[in-house]
Amino acid sequence: MLNPESMDNRHVSDDVPIDAQAPTDRAARVAKLFDEHNRSLVAFLQCRLNSRADAQEVAQEVYVRMLSLDENVRVDSPKALMFRIASNLAVDGIRKHAVRNNAPVDPDTDDWHRPPIPERHTDAIQQWGVIEEALRELPPKTRRAFVMHMIEGREFGTVAQVMNLSERMVRYHVSNALAHCRARCNRAETP
């Protein structure tokens, strides 16, 4: 038993252009796009917003925007558009963050029907002790750059100036510190 909608879907692949087509077809394509790229999209937004919860919220909004695109506009690369919309919304999201944090949760907007956010295996790290130990193992410069940027919240430029290093080097130190820290956490979790 085949209905027309599912027949159309058979041929939808990753990044095909969205043409001015029947709304149901377009919706299916957008849904497929999200199924395939949702993880990256949320990861991207989490990076921009530094919050998993906010990232998921904004991902929903991206989905809604994609669905409500003008039907007469042909989109060459929906995937690129998706990340462009995400990028723009993230900037807004950062701006509105303080406001939203103070606002009570609206149960109606809290639970969108689409897209399904896959349950993620959470590797929650709660042990500050392990993190502290890991950071102590780092060379002094790496540790200092990390503390100044990640904990004290200073810009790379400021850290670079204070430490008399290039911004590139500061980034290098900070990413090494993050990686080392996380690797230690993973090792601590492994029985």
Partner: protein, 352 residues
């Protein structure tokens, strides 16, 4: 659940992830970068997981509470090198080194650790039999002392010292309190300040010494000093004891509990702020803070609960407004301030 247990990404993959993470966080991210990152994400099943893990970690740092952040900063920003020279035999350098490898390396770079026969100072002290001149200031009163050799001493409130000069030596004993020394350098007549457990020898210098019982902090504002344990050099075989040199901008703290000297950086103005009526404390025990405030407070401050004294305080206390500092204390510490006619008592505030 059918989900396969995937491999944990190794540190190299995590490094790539962290590098991407930082790049994508820049204010302006070019679309090509996003594309490259997506290619990276898809190129190995380990990559998205590593990227998520880095995100989780940064989110944890971003949402850490203030207390955690403060602790991490205190522990990691490393103003101090907790271990430099063993002063008492019970200290186990190996154990400490193992715990603080990076610090030791840092000190080696920033400090000239001198080794000399500690006997020297002792002999000087023994040889000197002159009665000396004693100076003492009263509570709340700073005193300036000019010495015959051109050196000068600024003595803090409720502080006392004795000077013993002869042809070969200039010996100062800081009995209690705080003093700033500006020394007319003379190699033939070493200028040595003993402050309880420490002996500080001038090497062309201005320096500040604060002694709170056996706890001593030496801050160098100009030139350098050599600091050695005082009166502990009496081993019969002439065992060489370690000392260390501190230069301008460094301070050495002696902690009687661990019997260890620690070196940290200090702003020269910070070290002698007391001369401008400000007492500066950096991660200092409340008991020590109170003892120093008492050198300036009309009414002595008493600590009724030892647990309070063991807490630490960082900040400034203005000598002319000690009372308002005390009034604000309950906002920072679980403390109740009770004011009496002749004293102020700090007790532990009951939990609500």
């Amino acid at each position: 659940m059918m989900a396969a247990i995937s491999m944990q990404p190794d540190e190299l993959v995590l490094r790539e992830a962290a590098t991407w993470w930082l790049r994508l966080r820049e204010t302006h991210v070019p679309e090509e970068s996003v594309g490259q990152w997506l290619t990276w994400m898809d190129s190995d099943e380990c990559h998205p997981r590593a990227f998520d893990q880095i995100g989780e970690l940064t989110e944890q740092f971003a949402t850490a509470d203030e207390a955690t952040r403060m602790r991490l900063i205190a522990v990691l920003a490393a103003p101090a090198a907790p271990f430099v020279a063993p002063v008492a035999p019970k200290v186990e350098p190996r154990a400490r080194r193992a715990r603080w490898p990076v610090y030791v390396a840092a000190i080696a770079a920033s400090l000239v650790v001198a080794v000399f026969a500690g006997r020297l100072l002792d002999r000087q002290a023994r040889d000197n039999v002159s009665a000396g001149q004693r100076y003492a200031s009263s509570v709340g009163q700073n005193e300036d002392i000019s010495l015959p050799d051109g050196s000068s001493i600024a003595l803090g409130g409720a502080s006392a010292l004795t000077t013993r000069y002869d042809n070969g030596h200039r010996l100062i004993e800081l009995d209690t309190g705080e003093a700033f020394f500006h020394v007319a350098h003379d190699e033939k007549r070493p200028f040595v300040v003993t402050a309880g457990p420490l002996a500080i020898r001038d090497l062309g210098t201005a320096f500040n010494v604060r002694r709170t019982d056996q706890r001593v902090i030496v801050a160098v504002t100009e030139g350098r000093v050599r600091i050695a344990p005082a009166g502990r050099s009496t081993t019969n075989d002439g065992t060489v004891q370690s000392a260390l040199e501190a230069v301008a901008g460094q301070q050495v703290s002696y902690d009687p509990v661990t019997a260890a000297m620690t070196v940290s950086n200090v702003e020269p103005e910070h070290a002698v702020a007391w001369r401008s009526n400000r007492l500066e404390f950096d991660n200092e025990l409340v008991s020590v803070v109170v003892a120093n405030i008492n050198r300036y407070s009309r009414r002595p401050v008493q600590i009724a609960d030892a647990r309070l004294g063991a807490m630490t305080f960082t900040g400034t206390v203005k000598i002319d407004s000690i009372d308002s500092w005390l009034d604000a204390l309950p906002q920072v510490f679980p403390v109740r301030v009770s004011s009496f006619a002749d004293r102020i008592v700090l007790s532990r505030a009951e939990r609500k």
